[in-house]
Amino acid sequence: MKAVIGWFRERLPISGGQIRDAVDEPLPAHLKQWWFCLGGTPAYLFLVQIVTGILLAFYYQPSPGTAYESVRDITYHVDYGWFIRGLHKWGATLMVAAVVLHQIRVYFTGAYRKPREINWMVGMLLLMLTLTTGFTGYSLVFEQLSYWGATVAGNISDTVPVIGGFLKRGLLGGDAYSARTLPRLFILHGAVLPVSMLFLLGVHIALIRLQGVAPQVPGTKEKHTYSLFPDHVLTELLVGLGLTLLLAVLATTLPAELGPKANPLSTPELIKPEWYFYATFRWLKLFSGTAAVLSMGFIVFVMGIWPLIDGQIRKRWKNSEFSVWVGLLGASALIGLTVWEAAVAH
C-alpha cells in the first residue's frame, strides 16, 4: 500500500497541506445561517441535472419522428425511466428557484458591491444560461408546448435588431421549425449550455475564493470564522441530502407527464410555458413584439450592470437605500406578472 501511495506521490507533487491551503478558506460565521447556503444549492442541483440528463440521453432520440416516442418510452416502458425523468424535471424547477433565491439574497445583502461586481455579472450569465437550458430542455419532449415554445423563441430572436435573423436561423436551423431544429436544441441543452455553465461556475467559485466570502455588513470584517472543511462542506451535504429527498418525493408524487404530441398545424387553445417564464409570457402579451423584446433585453442588461449603476449612485448619495427600493419594485413586478399569468387562461 505504501509503495502505491509512494508511486503516486512521486508523480503527483501535491501535498495534502497544499490542497487544504487552496480550498480551506476561513468562512465568516454568518454563513452558518441557512439563508446563506443558497449558493451551494443550485450547484448541487446542477450536478443532479448532469447525472440524470446523461441517463436520459441514453434513450432520447432528437428527431421529429422519434423524439416524442422516445420520451414516452422513457416515461412508460424503461425501468425507472419515469423516476429519472421526474428527477430531471423537478431538478430543473428547483434549480431555477434556487438560482433566483440566491440572486435575491446576494442583491438584498449588497454582496455584489465592490470588489465583487464581476462575480455578479458572471452570476447573471449563469442565470440566463440556467433559464435557456430549462427552455431547451422542455423543447426536446416534442409535445405541443415544446413545438410552439421553440417557434415563439425563434421569432423572439428574430425581433432583435440587426442580428435577429441570424439568431433565429442559428436556433431553428432555418427560417422555421424543421427537422433540423431538434438536434440543435438537443446539442445546446446537452453540451453547449452545460459546458458553458461548468466553465462559468468554475470562474464564479474561483472569484469567491480569491475575494473571500462577502461580509454580512458590507465594508466590515467579521471576527468569528469557521473552516470550510469539514464544517461548511457538511452543512452543504446536509442541504444536498434534504434536496435529494425533496426531489425523490416530488418525482414520485407529481411525476413528469407527457402532453399531446407537437402538431405544426394547430396551436392549442390553452398554452403556457413553464412557470419560470410566466412573467416574460405576460410581458409579451402586454406590448407589441419588438417593444416587449427590447424592453426585456434592456431590463436584463440593467440587471447585469447593476453593481456599476449602484456604485455611481452610492458615490453621489452615501448610504442610499435606492437599491433596496429598486429590488423590491423588481421582485414585486416579477411576482405580480407571474401570479397574473398563472391566474388567467389567456
Binding site: V152, L265, T267
Partner: protein, 181 residues
C-alpha cells in the same frame, strides 16, 4: 611564431550588424516580422475555419416562389373556407367572399400569427381569427384588431392568387432549407 603580434592571432571580430533606424538589429526585425507572419497565418487559418463553421451552422435560407394549384373555382362556394398546406409546410386559409368568377373572389391568409409565429384559428362565433399564444386578434380580412398585432399594426400575411381556366392558383414559398416539420 614568436614575433607574431597578439592582434594577428586573435580571431577577427564579427562584423557588427547594421543597426536599424530605431536601434533594432536586422535579426530583431526579421524575428518580429516572422512572428507577425505566423500570427497572421494562424489567424487566417482559424478565421477560415470559423467562416466554414458559420456557413455550416447557418445555411442559406430558401429563396424563390412558385405558383401552385389550390382549388377549382366551382368547388368553393361564397362563405366557404378551405385549409391549404404549402409544399414548404406553411398552412393557410383560402376563403371565398364573392362570386364574380375571378381570383378577386378569394382571399388567402396565412395561418401564422405575425407576432411570434403561432397558428391562428377562426372563431366563427366571434367572426375573428384568434392566436392563443399571446391573445392576438384579427378581423376576417386578416387585419390585427387586438393584442400585440394591433399594437404593432400587423396583419396576417396575404398570398397572391390567380385564376386560370376555372382553376385557382396560389403563389407560395418554394421548398428549401428550413421548411416546417
Amino acid at each position: 611564431m614568436a614575433d607574431a603580434q597578439p592582434e594577428d592571432s586573435a580571431p577577427a571580430p564579427e562584423p557588427e550588424a547594421e543597426p536599424a533606424a530605431d536601434g533594432d538589429t536586422r535579426r530583431d526585425f526579421l524575428g518580429r516580422a516572422g512572428g507577425l507572419v505566423m500570427i497572421g497565418g494562424v489567424a487566417a487559418s482559424y478565421g477560415s475555419l470559423a467562416a466554414v463553421a458559420g456557413r455550416y451552422m447557418f445555411p442559406e435560407p430558401a429563396h424563390g416562389k412558385v405558383w401552385v394549384y389550390a382549388a377549382r373555382l366551382a368547388d368553393v362556394e361564397v362563405g366557404q373556407a378551405l385549409s391549404f398546406k404549402t409544399p414548404a409546410g406553411a398552412s393557410l386559409t383560402i376563403a371565398r367572399t364573392q362570386n364574380t368568377g375571378s381570383a378577386d373572389d378569394f382571399i388567402a391568409l396565412s395561418s401564422v400569427c405575425p407576432h411570434l409565429g403561432c397558428q391562428v384559428h377562426w372563431e366563427n362565433h366571434n367572426q375573428r381569427f384568434f392566436c392563443p399564444c399571446h391573445n392576438g386578434v384579427f378581423d376576417p380580412q386578416g387585419r390585427g384588431t387586438g393584442g400585440p398585432p394591433k399594437d404593432a399594426g400587423q396583419s396576417l400575411a396575404k398570398y397572391p392568387l390567380r385564376a386560370e381556366s376555372g382553376l385557382l392558383f396560389i403563389e407560395v414559398e418554394a421548398v428549401g432549407n428550413g421548411g416546417a416539420a
